[in-house]
């Protein structure tokens, strides 16, 4: 069903986080951007669809009063908003928002960090207003929704397909549908892929139809890709 494609080599290994793979398709330029987090760095690769051109860039976490931050990045994710795409990077010391190609930082929000060594997260949701271009991003709301750290908000879906991947090295593709008469959700299992000996830490579809997906694994310095034959 799916076969392995050529992997993309990245500069560092992927860290054992959750959702440690960002994918953004830029159809007008026949490019896809990938992001993989390693400790305090986001590795970005821009890959052309013909497989001939790869360009790399690295983004670092930021914290106030320090030129080079060692604060660990928790997640890097693309946000596809109606008017623009952004790359959001969250670390232990703050939130950074970049243009989707990583070229420019458009916003930086430094978090208040408590003095305790544990650095418990407050469980608030920060809501930002984003204009259709430029860097006039403002914090519009703080929702105190949870007691402890929120680990993820959006789920990953490609059309009617769902991708799940785990540290047991297995990726599963599912099909979701809604039965119109009862409005109940039906789940069907489509496919398993075993990424041998890989503790998967990120998995995303690479297109809107579930035709292709990519995974990252702890300690691996590559983005492994699969597509349907």
């Amino acid at each position: 069903m799916y076969h392995k494609e050529k992997s993309i080599q990245i500069k560092n290994s992927a860290s054992a986080l959750y959702n440690n793979l960002g994918v953004l398709r830029i159809a007008p330029r026949s490019l896809t951007y990938f992001t993989v987090v390693h400790a305090n760095v986001v590795n970005m690769v821009s890959a052309s669809w013909d497989g001939l051109n790869y360009s790399h860039r690295q983004l670092q976490s930021k914290e106030p009063n320090v030129a080079t931050s060692t604060s660990l990045i928790m997640q890097a994710a693309f946000c596809a908003l109606p008017s623009r795409d952004l790359l959001v990077v969250t670390s232990q010391k703050g939130i950074q928002i970049y243009e989707s190609d990583g070229s420019t930082m458009v916003y930086w929000h430094a978090l208040d960090t408590p003095d305790t060594p544990t650095g418990d997260s407050s469980g608030s949701i920060l809501v930002f207003d984003v204009p259709s271009k430029g860097s006039n991003i403002t914090l519009s709301d703080v929702l105190k929704g949870h007691k402890k750290s929120i680990t993820d908000i959006a789920s990953e879906c490609s059309g009617s397909q769902l991708l799940s991947a785990a540290e047991d090295s297995l990726v599963r593709v599912w099909h979701l549908s809604i039965k119109p008469e009862s409005l109940s959700v039906e789940v069907a299992h489509l496919h398993n892929e075993c990424v041998t000996d890989t503790q998967i830490c990120g998995a995303k579809f690479c297109d809107g139809d579930g035709y292709a997906f990519a995974v990252t694994g702890y300690d691996l310095s590559e983005i492994i890709r699969y597509s349907q034959s």
Binding site: A110, D168, N192, S221
Partner: protein, 440 residues
């Protein structure tokens, strides 16, 4: 929340701030000003050298990881030393003395009290220095190459155990396996046994009530520590638990973790929560049901074999250095380059090791050297050919009243004060540290 528009650039020499002023005005700053300032700071920063800048504490995700890391690494170290002492035919009484001295030092109350305080993990360098000291707590001596190899084996073994733990909480069972073996080593010596038992109590008290989420944080903290270590261990290669590229085998067969079910079932519920249908699917593996849970008490069957002694006289310890598969690109941690032990770490270490009572090596009759390799020539060869990226960069602190060691330490402390002038804060701490080292 606008970040301040000036930045302290701290060099390790001065420990004073060097102020860079950006657009310092009293007006409120618009976001448009952020970008040019950020790039201005970046440009300026790149012109400054950071020779071993002060390492800020890395806020890793769990502050309860260090005791587990230490006990498990210590346990592996004891397995390896025990095997080598036998393999080298060291007389039984001397071998026993070494093991007892090391275990007694490991479980020293002051030392453990310091260790069990909630804190960040030490850097690899700092932890390696602690284990150097521990290995030399008795009449046994190890050359640098052997110590490097010992540490490689210890860390790869525990990395393997962490990766293969079915549940994050199983890391505690692995720790108990190590503790059980240590207890067996000293079962005839009541005073050390008491120390070990007290540590069991502490482990049980602190860890048995942690949630799964907290154990997952501990696991992630450990994985950060072990990231990019791929040294191949021949016993692992032989047992086919490690591949020739240094990665560990993750089986897709065998029992599922305790408390989970074999995957393969989809259950659909309606909006009142009633199950309305089921579907089976093939799970792509060959799993069977979970086996019983291991015991978290002082005594009990831990069930898992992870953390038990995998060495024996017939299964020697060896690592493969040549053609190590990792290339230097993978070891290049951006802006986390190795630096001399930061002053904070050195003080932490001093407090820690101040609690370690170290025996003087004694006269030549009593002391002896242990080799982790089959021959002296191999050891020498390993020392010469060890790839740079695998160097631990350890400061060798000897437990003797060694002029050279004191001078070395003085030099290190000198690096933390402004060249040519002793800033008062630094020198007093340096003196304390030196005194403590000399007194050990």
């Amino acid at each position: 929340m606008i970040p301040p528009l000036y930045s302290y650039v701290i060099t390790h020499n001065a420990l004073i701030g060097c102020l860079l002023r950006g657009l310092a005005t009293r007006r409120s700053f618009t976001k448009q000003t952020l970008l040019p300032v950020a790039s201005e700071l970046a440009k300026t920063a790149s012109f400054l050298r950071f020779p071993g800048r002060l390492k800020l504490p890395n806020t890793t995700m769990s502050s309860r990881t260090l005791p587990l890391l230490f006990i498990n690494l210590g346990g592996e170290m004891l397995y390896i030393l025990d095997q080598r002492l036998h393999a080298q035919n060291i007389p039984a009484d001397k071998a026993k003395k070494v093991m007892n001295d090391i275990i007694s030092t490991m479980f020293n109350k002051k030392f453990l009290d310091e260790l069990f305080k909630p804190q960040e993990l030490y850097s690899k360098k700092a932890l390696r220095t602690v284990f150097d000291r521990l290995a030399h707590a008795s009449i046994m001596r190890l050359n640098q190459a052997s110590m490097d190899k010992l540490y490689d084996l210890m860390t790869m073994a525990f990395k393997y155990q962490v990766l293969l733990c079915p549940r994050p909480k199983d890391i505690l069972l692995v720790s108990f396996n190590h503790m059980d073996a240590i207890k067996e080593f000293v079962k005839d010596i009541p005073c050390i046994l008491t120390q070990v038992d007290e540590t069991y109590q502490q482990l049980i008290q602190i860890y048995t009530n942690l949630s799964s989420g907290e154990f997952q944080l501990i696991r992630q903290t450990l994985l950060i520590f072990f990231q990019d270590m791929h040294i191949r261990v021949s016993i692992f290669l032989k047992d086919k638990v490690q591949n020739s590229n240094g990665r560990f085998v993750l089986p897709t067969s065998g029992p599922v973790p305790y408390g989970t079910q074999v995957p393969g079932l989809i259950r659909m519920f309606n909006c009142t929560g009633k199950e309305v249908s089921r579907l089976q699917f093939s799970n792509g593996g060959n799993y069977n049901a979970a086996i019983r849970e291991g015991s978290f008490e002082i005594f009990g069957d831990r069930v898992t074999k992870l953390g038990t002694n995998m060495y024996s006289v017939s299964r020697p310890v060896e690592t493969l250095m040549s053609g190590t598969s990792t290339n230097s690109a993978q070891h290049a941690k951006v802006n986390m380059a190795p630096n001399p032990l930061a002053k904070e770490e050195l003080n932490l270490l001093a407090r820690l090791m101040g609690g370690l009572e170290v025996q003087k090596p004694g006269n030549a009759d009593n002391g002896f050297r242990v080799n982790l390799f089959a021959t002296d020539e191999e050891e020498e060869e390993a020392f010469i050919s060890r790839p740079d990226e695998l160097s631990y960069g350890v400061i060798k602190i000897q437990a003797t009243q060694d002029q050279q060691a004191s001078a070395e330490l003085a030099k290190i402390m000198g690096e933390f004060s402004e060249s040519g002038d002793q800033s008062p804060i630094v020198s007093s701490k340096g003196d304390d540290l030196l005194a403590m080292m000399d007194g050990l």
